[in-house]
Each structure stands twice: as structure tokens, then as C-alpha cells.
């Protein structure tokens, strides 16, 4: 932690030094103070908060849809051979399609609105969640299900009380990956057409040739990503690993 702090202080120091000496045009290479000032200003006038709220809402809605479809779909694909052979192959085909490739289709279907963006977010995260759940369940030792059967567990409860909890570590990995994809897809979507949100704020910075805005929005996007990754998924993972006895410490 201490090492990290020193590293970032040093990094900002070097950045400030280069900016100070006007090695590059200050409009293209603003000083850290200028970026901080812009960040503060955008925060004060509410534009940053507003954009963040819009982006977060989109990613949360899209991601929830992906979870709600992806988890049951993954369970079905892992437990029904005929579904795996049919739908499963389609899913793996989609896996090789970058989510932003769905944007033209989404725009034609839904028009230039929130729905199109949501569609891209779902397209980006659904497949990775589905595949993670499917793999997680397929890799389980068969004795879990057998044990549950000998204890008289009804079929549906085998899904909810054995297969899902047993593959939770794998599902969590998939959920994390899905979140990363959802967030990236959202940003690409927002960058590509006028739509409010953080992505648009980034483009606006470009249009106004305001590099400090560009950098400050980039910092916000990065921080949000880090925050969810480390804080939310990190603590969930720690909990699961401890309970399952997977961690070394």
C-alpha cells in the first residue's frame, strides 16, 4: 500500500514536471492541477454526477438483465445435452463477436435511444456470464449431485441447492468478467453516438478540444471500474474463497 502511494505520487510529480516545462502544448498535455480543477468544476456544476448516474444506471440495468438470463441459461446448457448442442454452439459463436458489432443492428431495431445502448451492454456481458456458469457446472464432481439424490433431493432443488452454490466460485468469476464486458460495451456505445453519460462527456471533451476534461472523465471511468472490481467483487470473492477453503491464507 505504501509502495503504491509513493509510486502514484512520483507519477504525478513527473507529470507535473513535464507539464511545467511545456514540453508539449499545454492544451494537449494539461498539468495535473488543471485536470484536478476541471474534475472539481464538473463535479460542482453537477454535469459529472449526472453523467455518471446515467452511465451507472445503464450498466446496472443491462448487467442485471444479463445475470437474470445468463445464469439460468448457463444451468440449462450445462444440464441439457440437446440444448448444449444447439443453443450452446450459437453462444460460442457469439462469443467471438465484439459487443460493439451489435450497435448497428441495435440502432436499426431500436433507434438512437437508451434501448439500443442497453442492448449492446447485454450483448457484451450475457455470453460471458452464460459460458462461465455452464463451465462451472460442467466441471463439478458428479458426486455432489449423486449425494444430493441419495438424500432425496427433488430435481429442482438440485439446481438451486447443489449445482448453483457448488459452482458459485466459477459463477462469480463469470459475473466479474461479465461486469467488465458490460462496462466496456457501455463506454464504446456511448462514445459512438450522442447519448449523455460518461462516454459522451468524453467525446464532448474531444469536440471542445478540452484535454483536461478528457483526462478527468477517463480518470472517473477508471476509478469506477476499479471500485467495483476491487471493492464489490473483491470482497465477494474473498468471502467465497474463505468459505470454500480455496484461499491459501
Amino acid at each position: 500500500m505504501f509502495k503504491r502511494l509513493i509510486f502514484f505520487v512520483a507519477l504525478i510529480g513527473v507529470w507535473a514536471l513535464i507539464a511545467e516545462r511545456h514540453v508539449w502544448d499545454p492544451t494537449l498535455f494539461p498539468s495535473p492541477w488543471k485536470v484536478a480543477e476541471t474534475l472539481w468544476q464538473n463535479f460542482r456544476d453537477g454535469s459529472l454526477v449526472h453523467a455518471t448516474a446515467i452511465s451507472l444506471r445503464r450498466v446496472l440495468v443491462g448487467y442485471s438483465i444479463s445475470l437474470a438470463i445468463g445464469v439460468p441459461l448457463g444451468v440449462l446448457l450445462a444440464t441439457r445435452k440437446w440444448l448444449e448442442d444447439t443453443v450452446g454452439s450459437l453462444v460460442s459463436a457469439f462469443q467471438s463477436l465484439p459487443s460493439i458489432c451489435w450497435l448497428p443492428l441495435a440502432l436499426l431495431w431500436f433507434g438512437m435511444n437508451d434501448k439500443a445502448i442497453l442492448f449492446v451492454v447485454v450483448a457484451g456481458s450475457l455470453v460471458s456470464i452464460t459460458v462461465a456458469v455452464q463451465d462451472g457446472i460442467k466441471n463439478l464432481p458428479p458426486t455432489y449431485v449423486r449425494a444430493a439424490q441419495t438424500m432425496g433431493t427433488p430435481q429442482f432443488r438440485i439446481y438451486t441447492e447443489v449445482l448453483l452454490p457448488a459452482s458459485l466460485p466459477a459463477i462469480l468469476t463469470g459475473a466479474k468478467l461479465g461486469w467488465a464486458y458490460a462496462w466496456r460495451s457501455l463506454m464504446s456505445g456511448e462514445l459512438l453516438f450522442v447519448s449523455l453519460g460518461l462516454g459522451q462527456m468524453l467525446m464532448q471533451g474531444r469536440d471542445l478540444a478540452d484535454m483536461s476534461q478528457v483526462i478527468s472523465v477517463m480518470i472517473v471511468i477508471m476509478s469506477l471500474g476499479l471500485l467495483t472490481d476491487k471493492v464489490i467483487f473483491g470482497s465477494l470473492e474473498r468471502h467465497v474463497r474463505r468459505r470454500w477453503g480455496l484461499s491459501i491464507s
Partner: protein
């Protein structure tokens, strides 16, 4: 009274590259309250037979009757203790033991009381709230036994439950399992490939031979309980069975030069 009757059970496994005749017309009657041991070399079909009794595997022909009723699916009246325990790592010790009771619809409180009771019987009441990975292998296997006992099964099926444990832990468990069995009067079908273990525990030992899996011999054990694995009588009977078992093996080329097995030890 006959508890289980296994009639002409036949099972073949056909995979892409091989065919295995796992069980060839096996017929066995298990008396109510009997401690029956299935012993035999690796691959002779012991687990397959146990899984058929449990209802997890369907025989190709023949049938298994319990109390005269054909077995068609797995059920809590025939609890199975797996070789590796097959415990659920996402549940703590007590919840693992409660699991089967909850499936039966037993109330939360009652299940928890029952679980605590059987955990006490296997000497683990202090560890009821532990996560599984904090337990030793022997303790985990005790949890697996407790999980099966909690269901109060009519028949307890055990598939090499102690084979992963060290000798000392195993001996403790031999004593415990005999006491539990005597206290309950349940019927036990116990699979092992260790002949001494078989003689220590069983009322009757069935010897299986492989390829095809079939009954090779039957040995009643009339030694006074509680028995210990070092008892002279146990060793003597075990030696007899080992001898039979070696006769049943197809000798390899050069088998004559391999040293004799120690009594009770099986390769």
C-alpha cells in the same frame, strides 16, 4: 428377515474404446441388521453394485428389492457414504448434516437438533459451526457418516469410507462404526478392498472377482465384537480370504517371483 435382495444383477459398461462386464449375474440377500462387507480387487464392480443398490445406477438386467419392493431411484432410506465424502463445501459442518433432513421437510429447529445429536455421536459437536476445510480428513469422513446417520436410513451404504485415512484414524473409526451399528440395528453394506478391515467390521464378507465382476466366495465372520484389526482371529480369517482372492487373480507373467502378500494386504 431379508432387508435387501439382489437378484441376478447384470451390468455392462460400453464406452468408445472398451467394453467392461462390470457385474455378471450377482445375487445376494442381505438380512435386516446385518453388517455385510463387499471386498475385492480394484475394478471388480464393488462401487457399481453399491450404486445399483442406492438407485444411482440402473442394472441392465435383474433387480434389487428392498423390503420386497423394487428399487427404482435413489432415496434417503438408503443413505450412501462416498469414498471422498462428497460433502458440500459451501455449507458448514452442521448444515451439511442438516441437508438431507431439510429435504425431507423436517423443520429447521428439529433438523438442527438432530444434526447436533449425530455430530455428538461421531464426536464432532464442538466443530458444528466450522467450515469443512478447517477439518482433518478423518473429521470430514465423520461428518459424511453423520450426514448419512442423520437420515436414520434403513440401509447404510458405505463405499470405501476410510480408504483415504491413516491407520490410527481408521482404527478409531472401526470402533465407532461398530458401536453406532450395534446401537441402531441398521443394515450396513460396506465396500472395501482391505481384507482385514472387512473381517474387523463384517458379519459376513462377500469376495468379488473381476472381469467379469462376480461373486467368488462368501465368508461368515463369527468373531466376538468389539473386534480390532490386530486381533489374531481377525488376522487368521483375513488370511483365508486373501488366499482365495489370490487364487482368483489371473496370474501375470513373472507373478511367481513377486513376494507373497502380507496377510490382509491386497494389491
Amino acid at each position: 428377515m431379508v432387508k435387501l435382495s439382489i437378484r441376478n444383477v447384470e451390468k455392462r459398461f460400453v464406452t468408445e474404446d472398451q467394453k467392461v462386464h462390470a457385474l455378471s449375474s450377482i445375487s445376494v440377500e442381505v438380512q435386516s441388521g446385518e453388517f455385510l462387507i463387499l471386498v475385492g480387487p480394484s475394478g471388480c464392480g464393488k462401487s457399481t453394485l453399491l450404486n445399483i443398490i442406492a438407485g444411482l445406477v440402473k442394472p441392465d438386467a435383474g433387480e434389487v428389492l428392498m423390503n420386497g419392493v423394487p428399487v427404482t431411484e435413489p432415496g434417503p432410506d438408503r443413505a450412501l457414504v462416498f469414498q471422498d465424502g462428497a460433502l458440500f463445501p459451501w455449507l458448514n459442518v452442521r448444515r451439511n448434516v442438516e441437508f438431507g433432513l431439510r429435504q425431507k421437510g423436517v423443520s429447521k429447529r428439529e433438523a438442527s437438533e438432530k444434526a447436533m445429536h449425530v455430530l455428538d455421536q461421531v464426536g464432532l459437536s464442538k466443530f458444528s459451526e466450522n467450515d469443512l476445510h478447517t477439518l482433518s480428513g478423518g473429521m470430514r469422513q465423520r461428518v459424511a457418516i453423520a450426514r448419512a446417520l442423520a437420515l436414520e436410513p434403513e440401509v447404510l451404504l458405505m463405499d470405501e469410507p476410510f480408504s483415504a485415512l491413516d491407520a490410527l484414524t481408521r482404527e478409531d473409526l472401526y470402533v465407532e462404526i461398530q458401536e453406532l451399528w450395534q446401537g441402531r440395528g441398521a443394515t450396513i453394506v460396506f465396500v472395501t478392498h482391505n481384507v482385514r478391515e472387512a473381517v474387523t467390521l463384517g458379519d459376513r464378507v462377500l469376495l468379488l472377482a473381476s472381469d467379469p465382476g462376480r461373486l467368488q466366495g462368501e465368508f461368515p465372520v463369527n468373531i466376538l465384537r468389539p473386534r480390532h484389526i490386530e486381533d489374531v482371529d481377525v488376522a487368521r480369517t483375513a488370511q483365508q480370504i486373501s488366499y482365495e482372492m489370490k487364487k482368483g487373480r489371473i496370474p501375470f507373467v513373472g507373478d511367481a517371483s513377486t513376494p507373497d502378500l502380507e496377510p490382509g494386504e491386497v494389491v
